[in-house]
């Protein structure tokens, strides 16, 4: 049999004969380069292909090496990519310039090392595609031929078992048998609703009327879904074969493939496939010499999303406006031209040949109890490895995102994944371990849909996402029914208002109600699912909506109407970061320092120990690394703050007196602001020293004492009364203060207690509390330090204790029960500790502190842990591994698993507490349940950071002022727009070439391990200016509100 001509095949035997001949003609040793020329086209794959062809022509090597353009290989993030047979070598990011080398290497059986893929920069290169983690965990059934065969060649398809399933069905199975087989396989429609395919076929087969029609819905329209496209482009014959089998089973003589016009390659491939199949007599009359006839037409859809709905699609094929109609009658009874019609989507049809070929039993082994087989997901968004992923149904979301998807880009936090496109829902981090199947997804308010999977990180605003999907469905609503046409519009209006910080919290209930009514009241699937993104985000992320409405705060910094710049928006003090960075860039350092000192009560302190939330959200970070905001602040204040005129101690202009309990960052900030407003303030501090946690919590190598002293002095010098060593609750009470004529009291107590570790042996000598240890150390009491210290915990206190002890010459080991990814301590602190010689052991849980005969700690009996399912807080729970106990020797054990608040009063004071023991306040005004008493800082927030405490101080001052004036607080504290400063510019616009950020000078490692001298030494002028000039000034994009 001649394998090059196209004659109609007269019988199934002739088809088998052709297949055998094709296989025989294939030289197993011939080098074959498979290049994706569909999805990778956007990355220059066609140029690569052209270069291959040209070079092969010139070098006359076409006999030894062939190059074929294939469909999508799936791993889009590695585009353009090729595989080299017979070894299955995998090269990614291929450019035309690599072609010569690849040809040369392939002919000689060598590797092109530099084009090999590395899962991460540190790991060894992977040679073969099947070893690439992205592929290794997949199970390709539908995508079996995608990237493997030349989609334009029916011969290659036939060679790879193509049309064998059809031939089997046609010759060995009665139509009813085919329906039974598909039913038994458990295949469910992959278009979204998941209706059992076999049952659907059965309805149509049983329906009265003729002719019957078969339609393939290839109008894939979900944003972010492209699996059908990949199948049509990469393996069109599998769809044709699936349709042939279905047509035979149902008794349809005519069919349509409805392909959206936006898929030009798919259209080309489908047309070619229909043509070739017709030529070979696989379509048309008397197929393979039997009585079965099937005529297939392709119809281009004009891009209406609603035409994915089957009745709308039918209307569109009939030449009418694509609008859905009510069912019943179902298309199986009355579909195209009023005749019985069966519609399945591309992926469903492509599933059919392997089911018929391998049997329903084989298929039903894949997947879960009620959801069989595999499902393709198009993995997109903030994940490292984007592309097409085919996995057995029931695979966990975590597996797809983290194993196959390689985790989050830039190491950011997984926030949620939108599953099922605009009809689907958001699955939050706490459901990462959810098995992806039809039922489980429904339980959490999402749907399988067509398999779109958009991964979102913490820079994705949930409200904005809801708005995006609503905008989409609203624009795509056909307009026929009221709930969908007007309802989604009103929903969009409400959600859009939320993104602008408008609306009321009660509107959320109204939105939810409307969403439910649209869902229940709409005519077709579009309207019935359009509210899903809203409903699921309201369910999982209601707080984020409330933050937008009440606090005008968008944590992801994505809503332009609320966010002038992410740094300003994220800063608890809402400092005008872009402006001072602009001033530094323009070398106007004094002005920068003045600005910072005006807005920030602790500029020098926070220039060192700020948790700089701003940097995490910095847009520059998307490009290379975030701006070193904290270091720039220190640079300006430290270098040029002296020149800034200190505020004179202001006269007392107000009659009211204010008492402040606690001289920590919150209390001092509030005192400073209130004094500047003209109030007389007095601070009562329990410790003998001022500064609170600033002094007793932060070691000097991070915050030198002189810096702290000077900053506090500057505040107190404004004319603030101070009484140290006065423990409120003992010598003084809140009632007493009120009686003494204080018109308002701010409780700003810190979290000076520890969370106790509940294991045997904690009372032993040598076991100490981390917070206590730091306090004593910082107060200069020189607490004893062991020789071999084990620190239990993973927070800042643990790290600080470890680093302090290292400096005393001890051998320090940190034991943490999760992994470094979950560690609450700042990453750079952990890194510094490691540099200084602290050993950190992960996934270790303490079971008992071993005590020697002297009653002294001798070690810790530990157990190894592994990470289990996700906790309610989104972190994975550590689970002990049975039998993995071991002992860590230690003569001193520091317990640092968490801090606790220590309050100077109980509820008898009329101040109510929250269930977690913190003071219950109105979050806007920080007022407690007792009139005139306010609370802020750690006693409200729980153990927090300096900048939050300072921010609370500022907020409390404004609230107390408003309270004393008997006014409402003018507007939420967060809602503090800053002046834009387009005048601050420099000669060159910011440079967007990717460069790392400036590093501070540091003292030598040996020196730092021996002393408490400050480690970081600030930025040089040149480094600071260069760093400031990296700023993208995203604030200037925004209009003034």
């Amino acid at each position: 049999m001649n394998v090059t001509d196209y004659r109609p095949l007269g019988s199934p035997a002739e088809l088998a004969e052709l297949r055998a001949a094709l296989r025989q003609a294939r030289d197993p040793n011939r080098r074959r380069i498979r290049l994706c020329t569909t999805g990778c086209r956007a990355y220059g794959a066609l140029e690569v292909l052209e270069r291959f062809r040209e070079e092969l022509r010139q070098s006359e090597k076409t006999l030894e090496l062939e190059v074929v353009g294939t469909g999508c290989h799936g791993f889009c993030a590695a585009a353009p990519l090729i595989e080299v047979d017979p070894w299955g070598l995998f090269y990614h990011g291929v450019t035309p310039d690599d072609v010569s080398e690849i040809i040369e290497a392939s002919l000689n059986g060598r590797l092109v090392e530099r084009l090999l893929y590395r899962p991460d920069p540190a790991s060894a290169p992977v040679k073969r595609a099947r070893h690439v983690p992205f592929y290794a965990a997949q199970r390709k059934t539908v995508l079996r031929n995608c990237g493997r065969i030349d989609p334009t060649s029916i011969h290659e398809y036939i060679e790879h078992d193509g049309y064998a399933a059809f031939a089997r069905a046609l010759t060995q199975m009665a139509p009813e048998r085919v329906v039974e087989e598909v039913t038994a396989s458990g295949l469910r429609g992959r278009g979204g609703a998941g209706f059992p395919t076999g049952r659907k076929w059965g309805f149509c087969r049983a329906a009265e009327g003729s002719p019957k029609y078969l339609i393939c819905n290839a109008d894939e329209g979900d944003p972010g879904a492209f699996m059908d496209r990949a199948v049509l482009e990469g393996d069109p014959h599998s769809v044709l074969e699936g349709m042939l089998i279905a047509a035979y089973a149902i008794g349809a003589g005519e069919g349509y493939i409805y392909v959206r016009a936006e898929y030009p390659i798919a259209i080309e491939q489908v047309q070619a496939a229909i043509h070739q199949a017709s030529q070979l007599g696989l379509l048309g009359d008397h197929i393979l010499g039997t009585g079965f006839s099937f005529h297939l037409h392709m119809k281009e859809g004009a891009g209406a999303f609603v035409c994915g709905e089957e009745t709308a699609l039918i209307a569109s094929i009939e030449g009418r406006r694509g609008m859905p109609r009510a069912r019943p009658p179902f298309p199986a009874q009355s579909g195209l031209w009023g005749k019985p019609t069966n519609i399945n989507n591309v992926e469903t049809f492509a599933n059919i040949p392997p089911i018929i070929l391998n049997g329903a039993g084989w298929y039903a082994e894949l997947g879960t109890e009620r959801s069989k087989g595999t499902k393709i997901f198009s993995l997109t968004g903030k994940v490292v490895n984007t592309g097409l992923v085919e996995v057995p149904i029931g695979t966990s979301l975590r597996h797809v995102v983290f194993e196959i998807g390689g985790g989050m880009r830039q190491g950011r936090t997984f926030k949620a994944a939108q599953l099922g496109g605009p009809s689907g829902g958001c699955v939050p981090a706490r459901h990462l371990d959810l098995p992806i199947d039809y039922e489980s997804l429904q339980e959490v308010g999402a749907i399988m849909g067509s398999g779109g999977m958009v991964v979102m990180d913490d820079k994705t605003c949930i409200v904005d996402i809801a708005r995006f999907f609503l905008e989409f469905v609203q624009a795509e609503s056909c307009g026929k029914c009221v709930p969908c046409r007007v309802g989604t519009k009103r929903m969009l209006e409400m959600v859009s208002a939320f993104t602008r910080g408008e609306g009321r919290v009660e509107d959320l209930d109204e939105l939810e109600q409307l969403a439910l009514h649209v869902k229940e009241g709409s005519l077709c699937g579009l309207g019935q699912t359009a509210p899903n993104p809203v409903l699921s985000t309201l369910r999982h992320f209601r707080d984020e909506y409330i933050a937008h409405i009440e606090d005008k705060h968008c944590e992801a910094c994505a809503c332009p109407e609320l966010v002038q710049s992410p740094c300003h928006h994220t800063c608890p003090l809402h400092m005008n970061v872009p402006q001072y960075i602009g001033l530094i860039a323009a070398e106007r350092f004094e002005e920068a320092a003045a600005l910072i000192k005006e807005e920030n009560p602790f500029p020098n302190v926070l220039g060192r120990v700020c948790s700089h939330r701003c940097e995490a959200k910095c847009r520059r970070g998307d490009l290379d690394e975030p701006i070193a905001v904290c270091a720039l602040k220190r640079f300006a204040v430290e270098g040029f703050g002296e020149q800034v005129r200190r505020p004179q101690s202001p006269p007392v202009r107000r009659a009211e007196k204010i008492a402040i309990v606690g001289a920590g960052p919150c209390g001092l900030s509030a005192a400073r602001r209130l004094t500047l407003m003209g109030y007389a303030t007095t601070i009562f501090e329990a410790l003998p020293v001022t500064g609170g946690m600033l002094r007793v919590g932060i070691p000097a190598y991070r915050l030198p004492r002189d810096v702290l002293d000077e900053e506090i002095k500057g505040i107190l010098d404004l004319g603030i009364g101070l009484e140290v060593g006065v423990r409120v609750g003992e010598s003084v009470t809140i009632d007493g203060l009120m009686d003494d004529g204080f018109n308002a009291v701010l409780v700003a107590a810190g979290a000076h207690d520890s969370v106790p570790l509940k294991v045997p042996g904690v009372q032993a000598k040598g076991v100490c509390d981390g917070v206590v240890f730091l306090r004593e150390s910082n107060l200069g009491l020189d607490p004893p330090v062991g020789r071999k210290v084990a620190v239990i915990g993973g927070g800042d206190v643990a790290i600080d204790c470890a680093r302090v002890m290292i400096r005393t010459g001890a051998q320090v080991q940190i034991l943490y029960r999760r992994t470094r990814d979950e560690m609450p301590a700042a990453d750079y602190e952990v890194q510094a500790a490691e540099e200084e010689g602290v050993a950190i052991s992960y996934l270790i849980g303490p079971e008992e502190i071993l005590v020697d005969e002297a009653g002294e700690a001798a070690g810790i009996r530990c157990v190894r842990m592994e990470l289990g399912p996700t906790d309610l807080d989104g972190r994975r729970r550590p689970v002990p591994i049975a039998g993995s106990e071991f002992v860590v020797e230690a003569d001193m054990v520091v317990l640092a698993i968490g801090q606790r608040i220590k309050l100077p009063f109980d509820e008898s004071s009329g101040i109510e507490l929250a269930p977690d023991g913190s003071v219950q306040v109105n979050p806007k005004t920080l007022s407690t349940t007792r009139e005139g008493v306010f609370a802020g800082g750690d006693c409200v927030l729980g153990p927090s950071t300096v900048v939050w405490a300072a921010s609370h101080g500022e907020r409390a001052a404004l609230a107390i002022d408003a309270f004393l004036r008997c006014e409402e607080m003018a507007e939420p504290f967060e809602y503090r727009p800053v002046a834009q400063s387009p005048d601050i510019c420099w000669a060159k616009l910011s440079d967007t070439t990717a460069v790392g950020r400036a590093r501070q000078r540091e003292i030598a490692l040996e020196e730092r391990c021996r002393s408490f001298a400050e480690v970081e030494r600030g930025l040089s002028v040149a480094a600071a200016v260069a760093e400031a000039r990296r700023c993208l000034r995203c604030d200037l994009e925004r209009r003034e509100r």
Partner: protein, 910 residues
């Protein structure tokens, strides 16, 4: 089957929807998009219900019933969603009820009231549907108020078949638009107002009634349309003595809530300033106002004078197919009983005389055998020579509906008329070759044995003759004569013959020929041959023209018959009338219209009494007609408006017209139905009946009071076929004659006796005769004439109604592009059309609608008196002139100037 709705066990029928069962049983389910006339769509989502055992909340309007179904219509969940949906609609609706024309007639308003909902307090974005500046005179589209229920789109497509509207855009911006997104005048819209009628809110309104009163201010008077013979039911809305609007009568058995553009919008002629308001007498060559006494006395005196001088044969009376049955009855009673002649006729002579002559011969009655409503269920319909979408628009709706349901529709017409859009096949025969075509079809039917042998055997005589006659008409030969391909003829013959039931509809394309009666006989032959008579949804259906042309004939407005086709030469019948009227009647058949005209020309007829007719425009070869009328000694004219005939009249009586007169009309399906006086006549205008009675009195005879009901009772007494019809019985709905007894329900279709085999009909073989005048070198084109949708007859009513002339204000010469190209004529050019008898000028409309070699004109415009051109040839059997064919030449007379806005839709659609 039985189902349960809201705990009530109800009977339901297969094919019904839940909503239908609920509404039928008085269970109210709110809805905005539902209209009985339309296929359900489920768009408004208000009629949602809960069905036990089913997921979701399906729309009851779309949900087919099934046995044992349990439905809940008003659960709390459903009501909550309904409330939300109404709120959503209100949120996108202008808060302008106070000034909205739809106030009080708005379903959204009703629902807001029912559910006690307000417009939303906070402003919402409104959809961007701005008012479309529409230049049509009838329909106001204010899409700010549109709720997008889609009823207008659906009714335009499903009922009217015009498909002028669509939903454009997506999402919130979805809106109703024409396909070109322009105004209705530039769309296929037929201005029928169905969309206005179905619009549940105030988005679509009648412009003409704007500001003229809210629903509650208006009195509703049920009546019958004044225009064509369909006899649609309508409601006149009256305020302060004026008809301010017309609404369709949804209960009417024939029109079922449909009206055409004329019925809906051409009503205000009643209040035209140009109405005749005072009697006029020609004095010193001029018509001068006179009192009724003067005019009546003068007329009586002149008539007596002429009667004394020349006898009754010098008299002629022409009554009117747009006057009531009662007026026509009295008129012919006057002519026959007071004057003493049978020379009475009406304009049926120019339209369906061949029908009366032909069908009476073969079948026994010259009327539509079936009812209009039955056509919708005919599996096959053959439409011959009937441009019914323009001439009988509402009957055309039934045909379109049948086609929608899958009926085979065969259109036989030289022109590519609009109905072709819905047709299975179009046989575009040459003008005047109908007999050949029909014989050809019968040839195929007999040859292939497709005729109904059993029926022919029991119910028809003359089969062998017919068989012999049609034998020569092989498809090939017929193809040569007609220009229709042989295979089309064969296919059409098979389709017609094989259909379980097949109906034939024809109009003047059949009758207005010199062989008009033979044409009718051929049609009768075809129906008899295939047994398509005497049963429902089949038959032979001549569509009568004027509103009461059927009635004018039924009432004896013909020279040979008295009421109910009782022959004047039948002594028994005549004797009955002589006894009733108290006088002797002439047994001599009178002169037909066309013969009478010649008698006037010859001076034999000296006096003409003309009621509501305009022979100078309607008669073929109108020049000749004027010459004849000019010879009269005394011409009395009784009409609503001044007409061209007034130039020749000696006395003019201002008569009341439609809307001012009580009485009955008989529509084309033999339905006697009421017309009612809704307003008072203008000035001195008086009822026709009063005028005739007064004149009779002054001539010395009493012919009764002229009171309508009294007159009808007299008619019923004297007319066996209508004896069972009384005003009491037709108060709400008319009755179809024959209706012989007070409990006779009337007759929906005729000739059931043929099927029963108790009577025989006659097959009358016919032969092809070419038109009297065929094209030659001097006059190379065929002129065929007809009517247009937007005008009626001589325009007496339409020209005096606001807006109609704006839409279609001048005559157009429709000419094929090939002919136009040859003659150098461009669309819109002024052309001169000349025949051997005269010439006229009009603008050309170059269109494929006219076949090459044939031009088309109507006779609606006095400015373009098309009948100056038409042939004087008559059908010898019925006396009808050959309006449909004469030879003309066309020449360019001027270039395209500014053309008036016309909406003739000359371009055929694919």
């Amino acid at each position: 089957m039985y189902m349960t709705i809201d705990e009530r066990r109800l009977e339901a029928f297969d094919g019904e929807t839940v909503l239908q069962v609920a509404l039928r049983n008085g269970i109210r389910i709110p809805s905005l998009c539902h209209d009985d006339r339309l296929e359900p769509t489920g768009a408004c989502r208000l009629c949602i219900v809960e069905i036990e055992g089913q997921r979701g909340l399906p729309a009851s309007c779309c949900m087919p019933v099934s046995d044992g179904m349990v439905v809940h219509t008003h659960t709390e969940a459903i009501e909550a969603i309904r409330r939300t949906n109404i709120r959503l609609l209100l949120s996108d609706h202008p808060n302008d009820c106070l000034r909205c024309e739809g106030n009080g007639d708005c379903l959204l308003q009703d629902l807001a009231y029912e559910y006690q909902l307000d417009f939303p307090e906070k402003p919402h974005e409104k959809h961007p549907n701005v008012l479309v500046e529409d230049d049509n005179p009838f329909i106001e589209r204010d899409y700010d108020k549109c709720i997008l229920c889609g009823r207008c789109v659906r009714i335009c497509e499903e009922v009217q078949g015009a498909s002028a509207l669509t939903i454009a855009g997506r999402g919130f911006e979805a809106r109703i638009a024409t396909f070109s997104d322009g105004g209705l005048m530039d769309s296929p819209c037929e201005l029928c107002g169905h969309c206005v009628d179905t619009c549940p809110v105030g988005a679509l309104l009648d412009k003409k009634r704007t500001g003229k009163g809210r629903l509650g201010d208006l009195t509703r008077v049920k009546s019958t349309c004044s225009h064509c013979g369909v006899g649609c039911g309508l409601i006149l809305l009256v305020r302060d003595g004026k008809i301010v609007a017309v609404e369709p009568d949804h209960e009417h058995p024939a029109s079922r809530g449909s009206l055409c553009v004329k019925g809906r919008y051409a009503y205000d002629f009643v209040h035209s300033e140009e109405r005749l308001t005072t009697p006029l007498i020609r004095r010193g060559g001029k018509l001068k106002p006179a009192t009724w006494d003067e005019a009546l006395d003068y007329t009586a005196a002149r008539m007596k004078e002429i009667l004394a001088e020349s006898g009754a044969d010098a008299f002629c009376g022409w009554c009117s197919s747009c006057c009531t049955n009662e007026s026509n009855y009295l008129f012919q009673k006057f002519v026959r009983g007071v004057i003493g002649t049978n020379t009475v006729d009406n304009c049926a002579r120019s339209c369906h005389a061949p029908t009366v002559a032909g069908l009476a011969t073969t079948l026994g009655a010259g009327a539509m055998t079936n009812s209009i409503g039955e056509l919708e269920n005919a599996p096959c319909i053959l439409v011959v020579g009937s441009n019914m979408t323009e001439t009988h628009p509402v009957i055309a709706l039934r045909i379109k509906q049948a086609a929608r349901k899958g009926a085979t529709l065969i259109v036989v017409d030289p022109r590519r008329i609009d109905l072709v859009r819905f047709a299975t096949r179009h046989l575009a025969l040459r003008v005047g070759t109908d007999i050949a075509l029909l014989n050809g079809m019968m040839n195929v039917i007999i040859n292939e044995g497709l005729h109904d042998e059993e029926f022919v055997e029991k119910a028809a005589e003359g089969f062998e003759d017919l068989k012999g006659a049609v034998a020569e008409y092989t498809p090939e030969r017929v193809a040569e004569i007609t220009g229709v391909p042989a295979e089309e003829i064969i296919a059409a013959a098979r389709e017609y013959a094989r259909a379980e039931r097949a109906a034939i509809c024809y109009t003047m394309g059949i009758t207005q020929h010199a062989c008009g009666t033979d044409n009718v006989l051929s049609i009768s032959n075809l129906a008899l041959l295939t047994g398509n008579l005497g049963q429902e949804s089949a038959g032979v259906n001549p569509l009568r023209g004027q509103s009461n042309v059927q009635g004018a004939c039924d009432m004896g407005g013909l020279p040979d018959v008295l009421t109910g086709y009782q022959r004047v030469d039948d002594d028994l019948a005549r004797g009955k009338f002589e006894q009733a009227w108290g006088c002797t009647l002439s047994p001599t058949i009178g002169l037909r219209h066309t013969d009478a005209l010649n008698a006037m020309g010859e001076g034999k007829i000296r006096c003409l009494y003309l009621m509501g007719e305009q022979p100078l425009l309607t008669d073929a070869n109108a020049g000749h007609a004027r010459e004849c009328l000019d010879k009269l000694d005394f011409l009395v004219m009784q009409d609503n408006f001044p007409t061209a005939t007034m130039d020749l009249a000696d006395v003019v009586f201002p008569a009341t017209g439609w809307g001012e007169t009580d009485g009955t009309f008989t529509n084309t399906e033999r339905r006697v139905q009421r017309v009612r006086a809704a307003v008072a006549p203008p000035g001195e205008a008086r009822l026709d009946a009063w005028i005739i009675a007064e004149l009779a009195r002054r001539m010395g005879k009493d012919i009764g009071s002229g009171e309508a009901r009294e007159t009808w009772d007299e008619i019923a007494r004297l007319t066996p076929s209508m004896a069972g019809i009384s005003y009491d019985r037709i108060e709400d709905q008319g009755l179809q004659w024959p209706c012989r007894t007070p409990d006779d329900p009337g007759t929906r279709f005729l000739h059931a006796d043929l099927q029963a085999g108790t009577r025989k009909a006659f097959l009358k073989p016919t032969q092809h005769i070419p038109p009297a005048e065929v094209p030659d070198e001097d006059y190379p084109l065929v002129l065929t004439t007809g009517r247009r949708l937007y005008q009626y007859h001589t325009g007496m009513r339409t020209h005096h109604s606001e807006g109609v002339d704006y839409v279609m204000g001048e005559e157009l010469v429709e000419i094929n592009p090939a002919d136009a190209g040859e003659l150098g004529i461009a669309d819109g050019d002024v052309v001169k059309v000349a025949s051997r008898r005269g010439e006229v000028t009009a603008r050309a409309a170059v269109t494929e609608r006219s076949p090459a070699g044939t031009i088309f004109m109507s006779f609606h415009f006095a400015e373009t008196p098309t009948n100056l051109l038409t042939s004087g040839a008559l059908d010898p059997k019925s006396g009808i002139p050959e309006f449909k064919a004469c030879a003309v030449r066309v020449g360019k007379a001027g270039t395209a100037g500014r053309r008036r806005k016309t909406k003739s839709r000359p371009k055929a659609r694919a």
